[in-house]
């Protein structure tokens, strides 16, 4: 293990002593350990302070130096990700990344996890996750225009899992619905690897005029700091530290006081008020009080502005009497913002908030001395150099070693699974009815997808698309990650996640532009987890380079473990793309009887990590499919070329469930009129491989038969293998797949039944509530 010193500037200057506050506990070694700080880290704090910290100061350090805020175990590797491109306006480090999308508009976007809170209280955990990410977007001056959610759960045969799933979905839905932001997509996977430790990542996109961008920094000595929005309560104290620990059997019990309750109505008011504040020019900085509450928002704003702040906790509006400075500083009550007002414009700020029926209180001011100073009724209770607090957290590079167990799983021989006994048609239907492949309508049917009257492609296809009013443009977004692939071979898994995200965008008609990511992993102190992390980050860096999609921000969630068992490493890619002309918007579903079906890319029988293996043998094993990043890029450029030429009626990416699932999804569409298909595949491969392998680099498109020649020609120019594999049949016909060594025929209605009813038939059965 190696450690860096980080920034220690003010280390030598001793800060004045602060006498202990009445009623606060004494700072002991045990208390330090309870705050998740190592002995070494504590020593470092002492050096920075030139003395022992008070209880309040210890709490502040513990929050800021938690994994969640301080990125101790990830920061060094994250530096490897490409972050720059001419269209990047704001890279990592702010509340959200921002890119230029043309016509004077900029797009802010970011993803955030709420895994631990959702494991304890799924509804509130998920709801407040959405709330947090919306605030990250509108504090940049952007109006949120779309939400996506990336979810993972255990298998649905567990009652507890169904309870978590139902709670998370209604939490995501109720919050976004109430604020009025359309959900345009996401993903969900069910696998025993996530049992006990669900993943809840929420992503948000926001739109602004380029010049409306505002950053979260505190500058201008004397400028008032104002707390805006909801009052501060005791909820969520130590949430940041909590997110940096493993869950255990009794987490439910112990974590209760930390449950935060979301109030989307207040959020909506805060959204409108914030945008109005920013437009008024009465403020110079604004930041969400997210993880670690006032502490992180105030110290980070000071850190970025190169200034200091002074806050009196007695001036913070509270929900409960008798709150200590420690509690007020660390509370994670939702729907609160910290605002730096222009000096003398406090009343204008108040007037705007008053209109939106919100509270605002001056709680302190910006200083010049570079300190994060906290008072209680004028008496100093904490006095910390701001820069070492926000930047000085030690960062570690750990030892990473691959687990032997995973290696043996990867090297497992899968030959027997390629030539099974039994009917292929049955297997096809079983796969379509697996919750991982089946329609996710049960989920997005609970999400408002059309509010704001701008959704051009709703959830259900490859990527969601929203148009930009007043222009010919639209933006597309998707989230992707196949955790099994990353588990079996992290670097390759990360390549696939990025490639799949880009492919999804291209299928919608968008040029992949930039990435936000959410790195969900287990405990990084374990060498095999750190190995997964390092490899995945390296893989992501390589793929981002190949696709020219820089990373503009993201989030790290470690310690996703229950009783020592980690989730699959799940680096979720949230990717956005630009559709240059709304005429290019393409969807995944076939549209016309008689259209030619063209397969771009080559089939192979790579079964490793496939859904087929999981469904038929309960197996997560083998080598994930290979990825040739340059070939992927060519494939995607070819498809965009075809779309720009107006040649395609549909485009659908080939991923989970393989070619068979892709064809079925394109045929079934939204279920209203499933098409039959006649497809012939002359590959010299085992039928299971042709149908169900999750080989990368493939897209199925459909076009007017008269355009098939032009489509093939464009493919050829880009050196992409392409062939016409069949035609779209009549509505309500059969799905017929002729293989060299086999034939599958399933009536579209039966496929639709399997695909659309799978999740409802599990979730709408009685008694899914309760633990």
């Amino acid at each position: 293990m190696s450690t860096t010193e980080g920034t220690l500037h003010a280390g030598a200057i001793a800060v004045p002593p602060v006498p202990p506050r009445d009623g606060d506990p004494e700072v002991t070694a045990e208390l330090v350990a309870d705050h998740g700080l190592s002995g070494e880290e504590y020593e470092r704090i002492r050096r920075i302070m030139g003395r022992a910290p008070t209880f309040t100061e210890l709490g502040v350090f513990s929050a800021m130096w938690s994994e969640h805020c301080g990125y101790k175990n990830s920061r060094r590797l994250l530096r490897l990700l490409p972050t720059e491109a001419p269209w990047v306006i704001q890279g990592p480090g702010e509340n959200a990344g921002v890119i230029d999308i043309g016509d004077g508009y900029a797009l802010a976007f970011k993803i955030e996890s709420h895994n631990h809170p959702s494991a304890v209280e799924p509804y509130q955990g998920a709801a407040t996750g959405v709330g947090g990410i919306l605030r990250d977007i509108f504090t940049m001056g952007a109006r949120p225009i779309a939400v996506l959610d990336s979810l993972r759960f255990g298998d649905l045969d567990s009652g507890r899992v169904r309870y978590l799933f139902a709670g998370v979905v209604s939490g995501v839905g109720d919050y976004g619905n109430c604020v009025g932001i359309p959900n345009i997509g996401g993903e969900v996977a069910f696998d025993r690897g996530y049992e006990g430790n669900p993943i809840v990542n929420a992503m948000c996109l926001g739109l602004m005029k380029r010049e409306e961008l505002i950053t979260a920094s505190a500058s201008g000595a004397g400028s008032p700091l104002m707390a805006v929005g909801a009052r501060t309560g005791r909820d969520g104290i130590h949430g940041a530290t909590f997110a940096s620990e493993e869950l255990s059997e009794d987490s439910d019990e112990a974590s209760r006081p930390q449950v935060q309750v979301g109030d989307p109505f207040t959020e909506k008011l805060l959204l409108e008020a914030s945008l109005e504040l920013i437009a008024s020019g009465a403020i110079t900085g604004i930041q969400d009080m997210g993880a670690a509450g006032i502490t992180s928002s105030a110290s980070e704003m000071a850190g970025r502005g190169g200034s200091g702040v002074e806050i009196d906790t007695a001036r913070v509006p509270v929900r409960e009497p008798g709150m200590t400075p420690y509690e007020i500083l660390l509370s994670e009550s939702q729907e609160r913002m910290l605002v730096v007002a222009e000096k003398g414009k406090e009343d204008e700020v108040r007037r705007i908030l008053e209109k939106w029926e919100l509270e605002a209180a001056v709680i302190g001011h910006v200083t010049e001395d570079g300190r994060f100073r906290v008072l209680e009724h004028g008496v100093v209770v904490a006095d910390i150099p701001a820069l070492p607090l926000t930047q000085g957290c030690p960062t570690y590079e750990r030892e990473g070693v691959e687990s032997e167990h995973v290696r043996s799983l990867r090297e497992k021989d899968l030959a027997e699974h390629l030539s099974p006994e039994g009917d292929l048609g049955d297997r096809f239907l079983r796969l379509l009815g697996s919750p991982n492949i089946a329609s996710k309508r049960w989920i997005y049917g609970q999400y408002d997808t059309t509010v704001r009257s701008s959704t051009a492609v709703r959830p259900g296809g490859d990527a969601g698309v929203v148009r930009i009013r007043g222009t010919r443009r639209a933006v597309a977004a998707t989230t992707d990650c196949n955790g099994r692939f990353v588990y079996l071979e992290p670097r390759r898994g990360a390549h696939i996640a990025v490639a799949e995200a880009a492919r999804n965008l291209v299928c919608a008609g968008a040029l992949p532009t930039a990435i936000t990511n959410n790195l969900n992993f287990g405990n990084p102190l374990k060498p095999h987890i750190y190995y997964q992390f390092r490899e995945a980050v390296l893989g992501m860096a390589e793929a981002c380079q190949a696709f020219e999609t820089p990373v503009t921000g993201g989030n790290v969630s470690f310690y996703n473990e229950t009783d020592g068992r980690a989730i699959y490493p799940t680096p979720v890619i949230g990717m956005v793309g630009v559709v240059e002309d709304i005429d290019h918007i393409t969807s995944h579903a076939f549209r016309n009887e008689g259209d030619a079906i063209v397969l771009l890319g080559a089939n192979d029988a790579e079964m490793g990590g496939s859904e087929y293996l999981y469904v038929t043998a309960g197996l997560v094993a083998g080598r994930p499919p290979s990825v040739d990043l340059m070939a992927e890029r060519s494939l995607q450029q070819a498809v965009l070329g075809m779309i720009h030429e107006g040649l395609l009626r549909s485009a659908h990416d080939c991923s989970d469930g393989g070619l068979a699932a892709t064809l079925a999804e394109a045929a079934l569409g939204d279920g209203e009129s499933p098409w039959g298909i006649e497809v012939a595949l002359d590959d010299d491969l085992p039928p299971v491989g042709v149908l169900f392998a999750e080989t990368q680099g493939r897209i199925v498109v459909s076009c007017d038969p008269d355009h098939a020649g032009a489509v093939l020609r464009i493919a050829e120019i880009h050196e992409v293998p392409a062939r016409v594999i069949g035609t779209v049949g009549r509505p309500g016909g059969d799905l017929n797949l002729r293989l060299t060594r086999g034939f599958v025929s399933v009536p579209a209605a039966r496929a639709a039944e399997a695909y659309f009813q799978a999740i409802p038939s599990i979730m709408d059965a009685p008694a899914t509530a309760g633990a």
Binding site: S170, G173, D174, N177, C178, V179, G180, D263, P264, F265, T266, K268, L269, K355, W356, E357, Y444, G445, Q446, Y447, D448, T449, T450, V451, R452, S453, S454, T455, A456, R458, R467, R469, I582, I585, E672
Partner: protein
Amino acid sequence: MRVAVVTFPGSNCDYDLYKAVQLVGGEPTFVWHRDRQLAGYDAVMLPGGFSYGDYLRAGAIARMSPIMDDVVAFAHRGGPVLGICNGFQILCEAGLLPGALVRNASLRFESKDVHIRVERADTLFTSDYDHGRVLRIPIAHGEGNYEAGEATLEQLEGDGRVAFRYVSADGEVTEAANPNGSWHNIAGIVNDRGNVLGMMPHPERATEAILGSTDGLGLFTSMLRSLAPAAA
């Protein structure tokens, strides 16, 4: 057609409604719920959303807003009032329309396209539609289950005040086509004078091809034509 689009705290379809009015050539203005200014408008629209978070009951708290006295007076003078989704809920709470919208039978928020049949093509809101036409329009609500006492329902049906009903794609009133459990598949009703319409589906979200349907346009063009014959 000058339209007041009333914004309550928590309204979130106000902008969509504003744009839909503009699209057909009307002149929309946002009116904040505390600004009691409805003079000079040809119509008032209450948008969808979650006024006051839908806390207590959807529409219950917004109904107490200062501007609702003016909306009631406007309606009593015969002025056209359209309430969509949360707007419909507010109109019921305010007593401008009978009945109540309670939790969906599924107990879930329901978001999807539905088909509704035009049951009244002779109101100022629906005159551009043919009687019996089936429209495809999105819904997105958690409390859209229309309930009223037996007597009220009989009266509504007897007087032909059901403006829209949930139907299958081919126009049949079926249970499967009912997304929320509403009595008699009711999706929208008018008051006895025909100048107040409340409906759960969102016509403003079905006004452009890029959104997947233009079936909602007729509502706005009907109003435009009825209210400003010269401009039609």
